[in-house]
Structures are given as structure tokens and as C-alpha cells.
Symmetry: C2
Subunit: 444 residues, 2 copies
């Protein structure tokens, strides 16, 4: 294991109350897979450290994508300008009937390349053929929290299979992979199925990753059908009793937030604003969730709604949109936006004790962002730059678990040319759309 010094960077470090704060001209020491020191750059470095010069670069905790369906990059651009019902029934679920183990493996690699190039070091992924996703993460050297998505229409035996996956891969890739159960949503999983998912999660000591209250229409439909909100269903079926990631919560009612606040130690909300805009789903009520102490993290969702896997873009959209919807430019100021992007996202994954901060003892997931671009200059305010100017292409260097996996934008673990060629080979087959072949029906 190499030990590394990131020399003379600016760094987003914990302030007095842990909030991310800009410190200029710092050295960051990494030993093994942990950060061991952050200090002003004047000291002479220890001779055993590999030095990465990082002058005018901004060190940021590796970005965390708290909810995605990464291999959906395979379908990027195939479902545009359509309402959510048609999006599911005429596009996504028919398209997904074309998936194969092999396609998911290459799709996951393509998505991981896009994320590494954009500074995303950890993803909570919720998809199919997840052994292949895990293999790709192992190859890429990134961190991931993986759940195999299932619908109750497939019967309870799929839970046994996906629990086997979760058990097989939890702690895999030298501890970089953690797993969970991933029932799709309360509107596609009946109560018995949700309860059985919880049983599996408890038996394995794992959590759950699920869609719920995605928009207000779903909440209304649930109230009409059974007089319970989707969040009540999660509570009633025991889901909220285990660590849970909830995507997307644009349909949360005030009483849902009150209910969620009782589980805030282990339940968080994944916020994927670009999807909400494209599908006109409304927005997650972030200020209310934050006031209730419920963790909120950033996400991209899949690339068929997003259409990218760009967490810097999610960060910018989150801050801009909350101001817009509140008609108040003081809502979600820069320090809070950065707090959500770092500590918030780590907390949503239940990893707040080891991810999301550049501090001694934390895992060495660090990205270096170039601040020399014209769009950052002059550098009056680097924190504002990170929220409002930074582009994925500004990420120069990416370290995960103490290992550099991209250096000066050169990928060190994955073979991009090969991945693009393999994806291109599957492209025509994947784009076929036979509505009768869809894997599920959307009728919340």
C-alpha cells in the first residue's frame, strides 16, 4: 500500500461544528486507506510519502451518489420529453427486458467511468444483475452500496436470490462494497414482500434501499387506495426499522416528515433534482427535512431521466432549485449545500463515521478539483466556485480507499476504449422497444 501526500491544495475540511469549510494551502497525508493528517503546507514532508502536487487544486471528499441505476446509461437519450407513466410503461420497462448479464457489466463500467471522471467515488446502486455491477466496481476501484432491485410480481423467491447476492458481496472488493435489500417501491411491492425484505435485511444485518413518495401523485394514489401514505407503508411494514435509503421523497407530506424524524438515526433521503425537473415530479422538501434532522444526500438517479451521472450538477441544481421554489435566494446557502453534498450524503448511506469528511481517521476518498479554469477565476470564493462554477471536467485526480484511480484525468483502472466499444456493440439490441415485453407495469 502506498502512502501519499497531496501537497499544497486548498481543502474542504471540517469547521468548528464539523461543517465543510475552506482551508487554503494544506497538505493531506494518506496512509493505507485512511487520511492521517491535514496541515498547513509549510512543513517538510516525510520521506516515505509519494507526493502529488496539488497547487490551485481544491481537495474535496470523494463525491457520493446516494441513488442511481448506473447501467441505465445503456439507454441514455431513449426516453425524452414524456410523462412518468409513459416513461415507465412505454420506454424504461420495455427497454429493460433487453438487458443481459454482459450488458449490465459493460453498462456499469461505462457509468463508473463517467462518475470517476466527475469525482464520484461512491454510488448507492439499485439495479438488476448486480453480481455484474459488483464485478465492475471491483475492477474500477470505487466504493459502492449495492442492492438488487425486485418487484413482488416476481414472487418471494427473488428475495432469497437477492439476499444471497447481498450476503455474497457485502464487504467485497476489500471492503469497498456494502450491500442491502432493494425492493423497488411500495407501489410495486406488496406489504408481505416488503415485510419479507425487512426479515432478510435483519437476518443479514443490512439495510434497505427503496423508492417511495417519488412524487405527490404517488402519495395521493396511496392515500386513495389504502388511506396510508407511502411513508406510512414503510413504517407499517417495518422498513423504517432498518437502515433505509429512500429515493426521492418529492411526495412527502408534513406528517411524513414528522414520522421520518423518529427514524433519522438510520433513515435518509436521496435527492436527484435533475430527474425531478425532467419528469416534472416536484421537489424534495429539503429545508423541512433538514429542520427535522433527517439526512438528505445528493443523487443522480439513472441516466435515462437525468441524463448524466454528474453529482456536481446535482449539487448546483439542488441549491438553485430550492431557492427558486421557496422564492427566497437565502434558502440553501453555499455552506449548507456543501454540507449536504458531503456529510449529508455519507449519512444517507449510514457511513457518516468514515466518509464525507477530509479529517484524520476518515477513509481516504478524495478528489482534486482544478480551480484554474477561466470559469473559476478570479478565485475570490472557492466554495461558491465548487457549487456554482465547477464542472465534472474540472476533476483532475480521484483517490478511493487510499488508491489513485484517476490521475490528471487519466483513468488508471478501467479501459475506456474497450468499454465504449463493448457498449457500442450492444447498442442496437438495447434500443429495441417491445411494449409487451416490459418487465413491470406502472400504475401507482
Amino acid at each position: 500500500m502506498t502512502n501519499t501526500l497531496l501537497r499544497n491544495c486548498h481543502a474542504l475540511v471540517p469547521g468548528e461544528r464539523g461543517e465543510p469549510t475552506l482551508a487554503r494551502n494544506q497538505d493531506i497525508v494518506v496512509r493505507g486507506n485512511r487520511i492521517t493528517a491535514i496541515r498547513p503546507t509549510s512543513q517538510a514532508p516525510e520521506p516515505d510519502l509519494d507526493i502529488i502536487e496539488a497547487h490551485q487544486q481544491l481537495a474535496v471528499p470523494g463525491l457520493i451518489n446516494t441513488h442511481s441505476h448506473v447501467p441505465m446509461v445503456l439507454f441514455r437519450g431513449l426516453a425524452e420529453d414524456v410523462p412518468i407513466e409513459r416513461w415507465f410503461n412505454e420506454f424504461i420497462w420495455p427497454l429493460e427486458s433487453n438487458l443481459s448479464e454482459e450488458a449490465v457489466y459493460w453498462g456499469m463500467q461505462l457509468g463508473l467511468i463517467e462518475m470517476i471522471e466527475g469525482g464520484v467515488t461512491t454510488v448507492a446502486d439499485h439495479y438488476f444483475f448486480m453480481d455484474q455491477a459488483a464485478r465492475a466496481v471491483q475492477d474500477a476501484g470505487t466504493r459502492a452500496h449495492l442492492g438488487w432491485a425486485v418487484f413482488s410480481s416476481r414472487g418471494h423467491q427473488v428475495l432469497d436470490e437477492t439476499a444471497d447476492f447481498a450476503q455474497r458481496w457485502n464487504g467485497g472488493a476489500d471492503g469497498r462494497i456494502t450491500t442491502c435489500m432493494a425492493p423497488h417501491a411500495p407501489y410495486t411491492c406488496d406489504d408481505g414482500f416488503l415485510r419479507a425484505s425487512v426479515e432478510h435485511a435483519k437476518r443479514l444485518g443490512l439495510g434497505i434501499h427503496i423508492h417511495a413518495a417519488e412524487d405527490m401523485n404517488q402519495t395521493r394514489a396511496s392515500l386513495e387506495r389504502r388511506n396510508m401514505t407511502p411513508i406510512q407503508v414503510l413504517e407499517d411494514t417495518g422498513v423504517l426499522s432498518v437502515p433505509t435509503i429512500i429515493a426521492h421523497g418529492c411526495g412527502l407530506l408534513p406528517e411524513d416528515i414528522e414520522r421520518l424524524s423518529r427514524y433519522r438515526d438510520h433513515v435518509g433521503i436521496a435527492h436527484a433534482p435533475k430527474t425531478y425537473l425532467k419528469l416534472a415530479m416536484g421537489l424534495t422538501p429539503i429545508p423541512a427535512l433538514r429542520r427535522a434532522g433527517i439526512p438528505v444526500g445528493l443523487a443522480t438517479d439513472g441516466a435515462v431521466s437525468n441524463n448524466t451521472l454528474d453529482i456536481l450538477e446535482s449539487l448546483r441544481l439542488m441549491a438553485l432549485l430550492q431557492k427558486h421554489d421557496a422564492s427566497n435566494p437565502e434558502v440553501l446557502p453555499i455552506p449548507e449545500a456543501l454540507d449536504i453534498a458531503t456529510r449529508g450524503s455519507a449519512a444517507v448511506l449510514g457511513m457518516g463515521d468514515r466518509l464525507g469528511q477530509l479529517a484524520p481517521g476518515f477513509l481516504a476518498d478524495i478528489i482534486l478539483v482544478d480551480t484554474r479554469g477561466a470559469h473559476w477565476q478570479p478565485p475570490h470564493n472557492l466554495a461558491a466556485g465548487l457549487v456554482y462554477s465547477a464542472r465534472a471536467s474540472d476533476v483532475l485526480t480521484v483517490m478511493v480507499d487510499g488508491r489513485v484511480i484517476m490521475r490528471d484525468r487519466r483513468l488508471l483502472t478501467l479501459d475506456k476504449a474497450r468499454v465504449l466499444a463493448e457498449v457500442a456493440r450492444h447498442m442496437e439490441h438495447l434500443a429495441r422497444r417491445v411494449p409487451e415485453a416490459r418487465i413491470q407495469v406502472y400504475e401507482p
Copy 2:
């Protein structure tokens, strides 16, 4: 003058009704400063053409920024998370008292570098010390429509001075510079001042570039104070009788749109969505404006509200936000978004007969956008890629008026290192903030 062939690119060309449409594998021939042919790539090229290989690159009409204050990049990041009144009175107008001719020259160059690197070939700029802005445009090789911003608090003689500027530079830089009168806004310019601006414009055969109905508060304030909307004031003072660019129109009432539709041959709206989100100004009612036949174009506004000069980002935000605000994902579909970004913006500048289309006879302002990035792959839908995946950093090559000014991301006209050094030299002085020194007061 070189003649150039952009070989084997994909291109956004006029469809049957002129709407931008994707054509794969095209050759674009440029002779002098005009496009002379666009044709499938199979033909053997004429021997006198310089060839730029553009395989897997997307040729797009040079992007047009219909409203900016480019040298404000000097203040980037200095006014964050504040309401519009404080933004003007405590930040912008005090900061602008620090400006000098020299600072504007270097600030304009910095902003032009950012725009060239992001594919923006034309900007309608509205600022101070505009001889310096014009010099920078001349150096950069870009196209610009320049107006010297004035307030009536400075007295009518400033109109004579800025009219002199407009006369001096109209047709300058080999015809790449056009000019206009630029009274700031109805709330900072009294009626007599607006009328005098119109007189100057008519005398010189020029138009006007002005802020109006920026948000609904301004419209309400105008109605309360004088029982006229800002758009009525523009009509009443004769502004709408000359070619006019109106920024930003988030405070347009239905009757304003009806009124504007009578002038739609020569009046258009500049839409700068990132500013509206950051300052919580609401949104320009784009569908209603388009139904009324009024040109709408894309803009960035200045970098203290934006914080970038990135028209691809404005394009993406425009499409996303209109869907969000209408709660309808079918609003502003990709073809319409691209139409606004190209023909719409050209029409707002009154240049729809020569800019905004890749077609024989049009000026050769062309950018080549790389589609090989992971975030574009696989290339099922390049039009969706341009709206929802493209980043400024994907722009590889920029041609303006037939001349290549950036090639494979290497700037060919401006000295970036020098510009960054000069801006850095002014940085501390520019950031000083003495509220008493402000150049104007905001009380709409």
C-alpha cells in the same frame, strides 16, 4: 482568408421548416466568412480547402449569449445567497465603483476566454467602459453586440457619450461588432432619458438593449407608482419602436405579451435562467412568448449572479425549468429548446438572416462539440446529448466569421496566462466594498 472543410461531422442543420435537425456524417464547406455548402461526407473534397477532421463531433451554430455583463467576471463569487435588493445595493453597485478602463479590458478578455471555451461566439454585452470591451472583442476574434450601460442619474450628456461609442464601433472589428444604446432599465432611467435614448438610436439606425420587467416585484412596483407595467413604459417612451433586446421578462403579465407581440418583428427577450434561480426572480413565460411569436433567446447575465458564462448550461436549465414550472415534462421538448438556442437567439439580436443556422449563405460561426465523452455514450440521441449531457468542456473547436479561434481546446487569439495574471493583479482592489461609493441605488 482560408477556406475550410469541417469533415465528417454530425451537424445541426435546418429541417423542412428551418428547425434545427440532426444530420449525421456531413461535410461543411466554409469560404471566406460564409458557409457555402453542407453535404454528406462521401464526396472528395476540393483541393483548396483546409481540412478539419470532425468525426464523432457535432457541428452546431456558434452559441449566442443574448444578454450579459461580461466584465463582471471580475466580481465572480462576491455576492452569494442574498436577495436582489441587497445584491444591488450592498454588493454590485458598490463593487462597480472600483472599475477602471484597464480592469474592464482584462475582465472582458477573461469572460471572452470562458465563452470561447464554452462555444459562445456572439455576445450582446451591456456594461461600462465599452471601448475596452470592443478592443477585447477585436483581439478575441469573436462577434459582439455592444451597448454602454447608463442611468438617468448621470444626466443626458452620458447618452451623447455612449451614442458616440455606438457610432465609433458599429461595424467595427471587420463587421463583427454591432452596437446599440443601452439605458439600464425603466426603474433607473426616467421617461425623458428613455425617449432621448430612442432618438439617438433612430438617428444612428441602431437598436436598444435594456432590462425590463426583470421580476414580478418590479412590475408591481411600476403599476403602483405609475399605473403602467415596465413594458407599457417601453412602449410609451418609444423604445419598442426600435429593435430592442429586453432582459429578462420574468415579470411579464399576459397583457405585456399581447403588447410585445405587436413588435415581434424587431423586439425579443433574453432569458438567463441561472440568474433567476439564484436570485429567486421567477421565470420568463417562454411558452406564452413563443405562442405569441415573440423571439426568445438564451443568455447568461453577468457572472455575479450566474456564476458562469455557459450557454450550454442556460440551454439545459431553460428546458428543465419550464417543465418543472409547468408541472409538465412535455413542455419545451428538445427540438424547441434547440430552436431557441439557435434561431431564437439570433432573432433576439436581429441577426436571424445571417446567424443561428448552419446553412449556405449564413456567417461561418460554427462550433464542434465532442460526443465521445462517457457522458454522451452510447450515442442513441445526439440532440438529447446536446441539451442534457453536453458540457462547455466538450467544445473542441470554435470558428467565428470563417476563422478558427480555438482548435482542439487551444485558444488561438487570446493569451490566457497573461489574462489570468492581469486579472489576479486587480483582484484585491476590485473586491473592496464601500457601500457609500455605489454607482446607483436599487429601489424599483
